[in-house]
């Protein structure tokens, strides 16, 4: 028993309570609030696990942007939908849990290696080979921080595809808005009077977020941070500014918007193709330039992530289909 165990156990318990509450709260608004709190607890747990970059991303996306998204969606939904959905999903979930646990039990009983070889013995021969390989290769990667080296050099192909995931999600969202006609009724939301205070506060907050985002991006090469965290903070700034009406609508018809959405993936892919044609192979950065290439990829990726995330959260008809 160490003293650290107490906060850890509290956090784990809190996480379970939040999850339960978010699933079974009688009111939709309560469930949403609990879900946001759930995101915050997850972020705290990541921080406890010494993964500050994940904690940042979780807090920004899991709690912040998802929260805005949920509230937006809740406004558009009729109230009675909630009840129907719950009963149906409840039985489905129950049946699934029963089947899954039965399968799992059968699976375990079928096999005696749990007791012979043992789960616990395996940990001794679990050599973190990949970890040592990665640590040894970090000096050649062009950055100092191992996580950044993994993300943008050793497994850069994964990151490139992940950027595409975000882009494709936006492509899917665009299909939900029929093209052509745009109704003006939805465009002018009436803000309550108290929003003046909100916009004043946003004027203070947004620059802070932008500065923090820039700092995270710059710091990414030597410490936890990087394009994704920076991008999500910038997206948060954009979302707040947009919600308070300080930022003009992000119109898909503008070339600059489209350019910033695809810039990250396009530049990354161009680097990959260029290294394949003129260099040593697909995504093999030339040694001397790898640091420079990585930071430029990160800058473009940050821009794309920020714009794409904010469009995913607050993109409306007039943003995506004009």
């Amino acid at each position: 028993m160490t003293p650290e165990l107490l906060p850890d156990l509290t956090l784990s318990l809190l996480l379970l309570i939040m999850a339960w509450g978010a699933l079974y709260a009688p009111q939709r608004s309560d469930a949403m609030t609990l879900f946001i709190a759930f995101g915050v607890v997850v972020a705290l747990i990541w921080a406890r696990l010494d993964a500050p970059d994940l904690a940042l991303a979780e807090a920004a996306i899991g709690a912040g942007l998802t929260g805005v998204l949920l509230m937006h969606a809740a406004r558009a939904l009729p109230d009675e939908l909630h009840q129907d959905y719950r009963t149906a999903s409840y039985w489905g979930a129950l049946g699934f849990t029963v089947v899954a646990s039965l399968m799992f039990l059968v699976h375990l009983l079928y096999d005696d290696s749990l007791f012979n070889a043992g789960l616990l013995d395996t940990e001794s021969d679990l050599t973190p080979r990949l970890r040592t390989l990665a640590d040894a290769a970090v000096p050649e990667s062009g950055v100092e921080h191992p996580v950044t080296a993994v993300l943008l050099n050793f497994r850069a192909w994964d990151t490139l595809l992940e950027l595409l995931v975000l882009l494709f999600a936006l492509g899917g969202l665009r299909q939900l808005f029929p093209s052509g006609q745009s109704d003006d009724s939805a465009t002018t939301a009436s803000w309550p009077e108290s929003m003046t205070l909100m916009s004043a506060w946003t004027r203070v907050l947004a620059p802070l977020l932008v500065v923090t985002g820039g700092y995270l991006l710059w710091r990414g090469s030597s410490a936890p941070g990087g394009a994704f965290q920076a991008g999500s903070l910038l997206a948060a700034a954009a979302v707040i500014l947009r919600l308070t009406g300080l930022l003009p609508p992000l119109r898909w018809s503008s070339l600059w918007l489209r350019l910033s959405v695809v810039a990250g993936a396009l530049f990354f892919l161009a680097v990959a193709a260029a290294t394949a044609i003129w260099g040593d192979g697909w995504l093999t950065y030339p040694g001397a330039y790898s640091g420079l290439l990585i930071i430029s990829i990160e800058i473009f990726a940050t821009l794309s992530i920020a714009i794409t995330l904010s469009l995913l959260v607050i993109g409306e008809q007039e943003d995506l289909r004009s």
Partner: protein, 112 residues
């Protein structure tokens, strides 16, 4: 000697801060209406966090961490105050006019 004094001071500030948080939670649960609840939460939050930050600064008296703690405290205090005002004003508007505005829901989640 100095060390122990600052340690004791630091820990007692932190304890006092935590006590304020407990009262905040109690107030949130027990107070009758929105305004008094907001009062309980924001006032004790500001004070409680201030005491916590002060205590932590005493325990780790390097300039860097002191500055960071001060910044954290100020940011949380400011956002707490703004959120309190937003909620209260919005509620007041609703009570007075019963018109306009569903923008409040999106407004309050920005600091999450």
């Amino acid at each position: 000697m100095i060390n122990t004094i600052t340690d004791v001071l630091g820990w007692s500030f932190m304890l006092a801060g935590s006590a304020f948080f407990v009262t905040a939670a109690l107030g949130l649960l027990r107070f009758p209406d929105l305004y008094s609840r907001l009062h309980a939460v924001t006032k004790t939050d500001t004070l409680g966090l201030g005491l916590l930050a002060l205590g932590l600064a005493l325990l780790d008296p390097s300039w860097r961490s002191c500055l960071i703690l001060l910044l954290v405290w100020m940011l949380v205090m400011a956002s707490g105050a703004v959120n309190c005002q937003l909620l209260a004003r919005f509620n007041l508007e609703q009570e007075e006019g019963r018109h306009g505005g569903d923008g409040h829901q999106t407004g309050e989640s920005d600091d999450a």
